[in-house]
Amino acid sequence: MDLLHYARAQMGLSLAFHIVFAAVGVGLPVLLFISDALYLRTKDPDYLELSKRLAKGTSILFAVGAVSGTVLSFELGLLWPNFMALFGEVIGIPFSLEGFAFFTEAIFLGIYLYGRSRISPRLHLFSAAVVAISGAASAFFVTLVNAFMNNPRGFELRGGVLTNIDPIAAMWSPSWATQTVHVLISSYQATAWAMVGIHAFMLLRYPSSTFHRKALKVALPVAVITALIQPLSGDRSAKHIAEHQPWKLAAAEAHFETSRDVPLYVGGLPDPDARTVRYGIAIPYGLSFLAFGDLHSEVKGLDQVPREDWPNVRNAHFAFQTMVGAGTAMAAIAVVLIFFAVRRKQLSQWLLKLLVVAAPLGFIALEAGWLLTEFGRQPWIVRGAMRTSEAMTKVPDLASPFWIFTLVYLLLGAVVVSILVQQVRATAPFDSGERA
C-alpha cells in the first residue's frame, strides 16, 4: 500500500470502529429512557433490572466511544493537516458545538450511570433524557461536517487561498437535512435491532423469561418504526444526491453513461473499464424512477466526470447494495412484526430466530451507508475543492500508526464483545418471579 492508502485505511478503520460506539451512544439512551420511564410508571422490577443491565453495557460502550472519538479529532490533523489548515476555520463551528454536546452527554451519563442511588428518580430519568438529546445533537453536528465535505458551501477557493469564508453557509450545506435525518435514524435502528436480536436469542433459550420479553417490548417498537421510516429517508437521500451529487448516485448504481429510462441493478459486478455491470439483475426504468420519480427521466452518469475523478465504482456499488439489502430485509421483517402485533399473536419460534439473525443488519447497513458516502466522494476530501491526496500529511511513516491502531482496535473490539457476552449471559436467570 502507498502512503495515501495507509492514511485512508487508518482514518477508515478509526471511523468504522468509532461509528459503532457513536451509534450506540445515540441509540441506547433512548432505550434506557423508555425502560426507566416504564419502571417509574408500572413499578415493574423487570424494567428497573433491564435499565440497570443496559446501563452496565452503556458505560463500556460510551467510554470506548469517547476515547476512539478523541483519536478521530486528532487524526484530522495527524493524517489530513492540509485539509484542516485550509478548512478548519470554515467548518470548525459545528465541531465546536459538537464538543459542547459531547460535554453535556458525558456529564449527564456520569450522573445517570453512577448516581442512581444519590439522586431522585425524576432527576435520574431527566439525565437519561439529556443524554439522549445531547447524543443526538453530537451526531447531528458531526454529520453537518460530512455534509459540507460532500457538498461544500461557504467559501471561494482561488490559487489555494480561501476567500469569502462564511462558516454559517458551510454549516448548512444543502445536504444537511437528508444526511442528518438518515444518520440519526440509522443510529436508533442499528441499536434497537441489535438489542432485539440479543433478547430474542435469550428468549429462545429461556422461553418463560418475562425479563427478556419485556426487553423486547422496549426495543421492538423502536426497531419496527425505524426500519419502516428509514427506507423513506433513504429514498429522499437518493433523490437529493441525484440532483446535488449525481456522481455519487452514478457510482452507487454503477451508472456509466448519462441516459434516460435507466434500469436499476440488483447485485452485479461493475466493470469500470468496460463501463458495464455484469451478472446484475436489471429492473427496467428502476433508477430513473428512484432518482426522479419518473420512469423516463434522465439520470446523469459517470461520463459527466473525468475518468481520473471517478470514485471506486465497485466499492461504492457494493456498499450501496449492502446498505439497501440490509435495510430492505429489516423493513420486511418489520412488516411481519406488525402483522403479529395486529393479530396479537405471540412471537413464534421462527420469528425469534429470524430476529436473532437480523441482529447485525442495522450495523451492517450503517457501516455500508457510511462507506458509500465516503467512497462516493473520492478522490475528493472536500468535493471539488481539495483532493484527499492533497490533504495528506507529509510524515514519511504511516504504516506503523496504521498497524498500531489496527492491533489496538482489534484487541478492544474483542474485549468489548467478550464483556458484553458475559453481561448478557448474566441476565439468563433473571425474572421477577425468580427473584421474588
Partner: protein
C-alpha cells in the same frame, strides 16, 4: 479577538490538566499502590474518578476543536511536527480509558481486574509524559519544517517537561485523593504521596528550567524578561510551599486550593512566556488566526456552550463530590 480565543484555549488546557491530568495522576497512584492499604488506595481511586473522568477528558477535545477552528494552521503544524508523540499519546488515551472501564466491569474477577488495572495505570503514566513532551517540544522553538517535513526537535528539555507534567498530574491526584477519602490512615497515605511529589515537582521544574536555558533560549529569555511570567513563577513556588505546609498541618482542603492554584500559575507563566507564539518561531496568535467571522462565531459558540456547560458541571460535582460517602452504585 484571536487573543481572547487563545486565552480560552489556555484555560481549557489548564482545566484539562487540573481535572483530566489528575485522573492520569490517579492512575499513577494505582500503579504505585503499596503498603497495608494497597487495595483501599485502589478502591478510593476507582471511586474518585469513575463518574467524572470522561467529562474531564472532554476538555482536551474542546482544546483541540478550538485550536483547529481558531488557529487552523497551528493545528496542522502541531499535528505534523508532533506526529509520533501525539499518536502514542492517543494510544495511551485509548488504552487508559478502555482498560479503566474494562476493569470496572470485571471488578469481581481478580485476574482480569489485575490485568486491566495494570494496563490502566501504566497507560496513565505514559500519556501525560507524551503530552508534556509535545508542550516542551513546542516551547523549545526548535520546530522547523522543510517542504512540509519536520526536522528533529526532540531533546532532554522536551523529555524533562514530559516528566514534569507527569509529576504535576500525580501531585494533583494525591492532593485531591487526600481530601476525598474518609479513612484517616488512607488520608495519611495520600498526604505523604502529595508532599513527596510536591518536592519532586519543584525539583523537576528547576531541572527543566536549567535545560531550557540551553535548549530553549528564546523561551527562557521571554520567561525571565517578562515581569508577569516571573511573578507567576515566583508565586508558584510560594503556593507550593504553602500547600505542603498546610497539608502537613492537616488543613488539606486549603492545601488543595493552594496546590491547584500553583499549577494554574505554572501554566499561566508558560503561556505568558510562550506569547505571541503558538508554535515558535513561525506561528503566532496573530498570523495563525482564522478569519474574523469564524473567530466571532467561535466566541459566540464558546459563550453559549459555557452557559450549558458550567451549570451541568456544577451538578455533576455536587452529586459526586459534595458528600463523602462515595459508594459505587451499579453502572
Amino acid at each position: 479577538m484571536s487573543l481572547a480565543i487563545a486565552f480560552v484555549l489556555v484555560a481549557a488546557l489548564t482545566i484539562y490538566l487540573l481535572s483530566g491530568g489528575a485522573d492520569f495522576g490517579a492512575g499513577v497512584w494505582d500503579l504505585l499502590a503499596s503498603g497495608p492499604r494497597k487495595q483501599a488506595q485502589r478502591d478510593a481511586i476507582e471511586r474518585a474518578i469513575g463518574p467524572i473522568w470522561e467529562t474531564n477528558h472532554i476538555w482536551l477535545i474542546l482544546a483541540v476543536v478550538v485550536l483547529f477552528t481558531a488557529f487552523p494552521k497551528a493545528f496542522a503544524a502541531y499535528s505534523t511536527a508532533f506526529h509520533l508523540p501525539l499518536t502514542l499519546f492517543l494510544v495511551g488515551i485509548v488504552l487508559r480509558g478502555s482498560a479503566f472501564v474494562f476493569r470496572h466491569a470485571l471488578w469481581e474477577q481478580p485476574k482480569p481486574r489485575k490485568r486491566w488495572g495494570l494496563l490502566f495505570s501504566s497507560a496513565s503514566v505514559i500519556a501525560p509524559v507524551l503530552l508534556g513532551i509535545v508542550i516542551g517540544g513546542s516551547a523549545s522553538g526548535r520546530v522547523h519544517f522543510e517542504n512540509g517535513v519536520v526536522l528533529p526537535w526532540m531533546g532532554p528539555f522536551a523529555i524533562s517537561v514530559g516528566v514534569l507534567t507527569l509529576s504535576i498530574c500525580a501531585l494533583l491526584a494525591a492532593t485531591y485523593l487526600a481530601v476525598e477519602v474518609d479513612d484517616e490512615a488512607l488520608r495519611k497515605d495520600f498526604i505523604t504521596r502529595a508532599t513527596g511529589t510536591a518536592g519532586m515537582t519543584a525539583l523537576l521544574a528547576i531541572v527543566s528550567f536549567i535545560l531550557a536555558a540551553k535548549e530553549a533560549p528564546s523561551f527562557i529569555s521571554r520567561l525571565t524578561g517578562r515581569p508577569e511570567s516571573m511573578a507567576m513563577i515566583a508565586a508558584t513556588f510560594v503556593l507550593m510551599v504553602l500547600g505542603i505546609v498546610l497539608m502537613r498541618r492537616g488543613r488539606i482542603a486549603y492545601a488543595r486550593i493552594a496546590i491547584a492554584a500553583s499549577i494554574v500559575l505554572v501554566i499561566g507563566g508558560w503561556a505568558v512566556a510562550q506569547y505571541p507564539y503558538l508554535l515558535a518561531p513561525d506561528l503566532t496568535v496573530q498570523n495563525a488566526a482564522a478569519n474574523p467571522k469564524t473567530l466571532k462565531l467561535a466566541a459566540i459558540a464558546l459563550g453559549a456552550g459555557s452557559l450549558l456547560l458550567f451549570p451541568s458541571l456544577y451538578l455533576l460535582l455536587r452529586v459526586f463530590k459534595g458528600t463523602r460517602d462515595g459508594v459505587i452504585v451499579d453502572g
